[in-house]
């Protein structure tokens, strides 16, 4: 179905598989993404979750928000543990110990757990072709340990280990393009998503779960705490990331690229950057540098759709 650009809530199940009462910060769009993903997947789901915000906020006993089987693993190995879970369940089904049915195997991690420390395990699992979905909840820094840069932190952003000062202007490298790295493994399904576009996100997760073989979904998850902005602007920031072309929503379905949310005229990147404290130090010159890069990357992406 073509994704409507409105929040058609009646199309979303009322059932919650990630329950309320978690400990995430006010305005956390990552936990919203987890909730929407859980709705899309339903109950026949097993989740392997790397260390990170979502582990911390959802699991301290006596509370848990998970209404599906969930395992916390080390920081670097969500994809490897999910590989083992998938392979193990397959054996149990083959030997008739458990009934044969469709189970969604999910590995989830943040951007640090995906693009830095977890990229080896992820690449291995994609290459081996496990029937699983890897979800990267990308809030663009190590927020759980207190806002340190990752390779997914955008150029110019100030974090506690890429502080903006007179010598270094914040993050000096460009955001690692994880969806493209996943797509380069020639896996059947890759998509980007954002909880500011819930229907689009849910459709993509459903498609990823339906896909036979590995699927990768990269979800931009606005973090008001780490991005230094008011929590009530989280959803707006997500929309602006898409409307400026900084984070285009697209999918790569068996190698075919398609924009799922089309933006007629991209807004200037300043609209997005200026609402966030982490970019506060950027001058017009730096913003222009970012604008050029975004234009170039966006054109490159559009070219792949032709």
């Amino acid at each position: 179905m073509e994704t409507p650009n409105v929040y058609a809530y009646k199309l979303i199940t009322r059932k919650e598989y990630f329950s309320p009462g978690h400990r995430a910060c006010q305005g956390c769009a990552e936990v919203l993404a987890v909730r929407l993903v859980s709705k899309a997947l339903g109950r026949d789901t097993i989740v392997a979750s790397a260390t990170g915000c979502m582990e911390i906020v959802s699991s301290p006993i006596p509370f848990t928000n998970w209404r599906v089987p969930w395992i916390h693993v080390a920081f670097e190995n969500a994809a490897a543990v999910a590989s083992g879970v998938e392979a193990g369940i397959k054996v149990l089904m083959r030997k008739g110990r458990i009934p044969k049915k469709k189970i969604n195997f999910i590995a989830m991690a943040g951007d640090g757990g995906t693009s830095d420390i977890g990229v080896q395990a992820l690449s291995g699992a994609l290459e081996r072709g496990h029937d699983f979905t890897y979800i990267c909840y990308d809030n663009e820094a190590y927020m759980n340990t207190g806002i340190q840069r990752s390779s997914s932190t955008p150029f110019g952003a100030a974090t506690t280990t890429s502080p903006a000062g007179s010598v270094v202007p914040g993050q000096v490298t460009w955001k690692k393009n994880m969806p493209e790295i996943a797509a380069a493994h020639n896996i059947p399904y890759v998509a980007t998503a954002c909880p500011s576009y819930p229907i689009d996100l849910i459709e993509k997760i459903k498609k990823a779960a339906r896909t036979k073989g590995p699927a990768y979904v990269h979800i931009l998850s606005v973090c008001p705490t780490g991005w230094r902005m008011p929590p009530e602007h989280a959803i707006k920031a997500g929309r602006l990331a898409v409307e400026t072309g900084i984070f285009p929503l697209y999918e790569v379905d068996k190698g075919r690229y398609r924009l799922t949310v089309k933006v007629e005229n991209l807004r200037p990147v300043g609209d997005y950057l200026k609402m966030q404290g982490r970019f506060r130090h950027l001058d017009e010159g730096m913003i222009e540098v970012i604008q050029k890069r975004v234009d170039k990357e966006y054109k490159k992406l559009i070219k792949k759709m032709e």
Binding site: A74, Y142, T145
Partner: protein
Amino acid sequence: MRPAVLTGEHYITGDEACAEGAMAAGCMFFGGYPITPATEVAEHMSVRLPEVGGTFIQMEDEIAAMASIIGASWAGQKSMTSTSGPGFSLMMENIGLAVCTETPCVVVNVQRAGPSTGLPTMGAQGDMMQARWGSHGHYEIIALSPSSGQEIFNQTITAFNLSEKYRVPVLLMTDEVIGHMSEKVVIPNASEIRTISRPKPKGRKDRFKLYQPAENGVAPMPSAGDGYKIHVTGLTHDERGYPVMTVEAQAEMTDRIVRKIRDNRHDIIMTDSYNLEDAEIILVSYGISARTSLAAMHMARSSGMKVGFLKLNTIWPFAEEKIAELAQRARAFITVEINYGQIHLEVMRSATGRADCHLVGHAGGTVITPEQVMAKIKEIY
């Protein structure tokens, strides 16, 4: 722009004191990765190093962080990384590489309770044996353990000095409690801080042998770009650094990396003694638990019990001769540490049955109280 040595009185956390100690020691490279409760060391270095022309890099994981400081060290810079339990585990292979290639570098482990993810925000002292034996093969290593912000500052400098002097990775074993606690730290004038740099080779470049030891058993170390033809490898190698796959070469190399530490142990091992002269019971401790032990010792003394305290500043190599000597006259040792008995085993080994050995310890997550130590003293006195 601030200088490398921030002379003056500061009220800072242990993690910040560690970073300032590294700056004062001449550290110019930090390869880091975020992990509670060590992140503040990296954060502080990311601000401080650019101020003196040094380099801070955040790596993609602890494996890479440890590897990066080995590279920086061979490029001629004093280098450091910091981490906690899970990251320390990931660093182990490369710590072995640094031992085998005799690479000076400093690894800070702000210990938290384990195993695995454990209690990220709560302290413990459970990595002491991992510090000793965590990498594979047989080797000697140096590990220090400070017990306050001031000691973290001082011992970070000592760690660099020992590392440069003996060409070995030095492990600074702090813990979450002192790492996160804010205390007064006095930083002296730069001229009062003694720093040591690795011995550099002299003489003809074409006849240079990378691992030909000097008198103290340590070979001079050139840097990449100095003009020496060097071969650095983690394979078993001969004096020239070339891989040799023989039993003899293995024995010779292992012997050298073990002996340079063992033979210089009196220079490396540092302890503080409190009331040991007439002590019937001796507390043995280090890190945050040393402060518990000191308080317990004073409590015991004020109620007339002859209790002394041996504070271990150097953990590895272990002060076994000191313990053996004390075992001749003391009735019992009580090792105080936040684990189920790691250094306790070393005390037992060193006492060789001449004194009773007891442990006051727990699994981690909080400090040991002086009252808990007192209870044990009363039980056995």
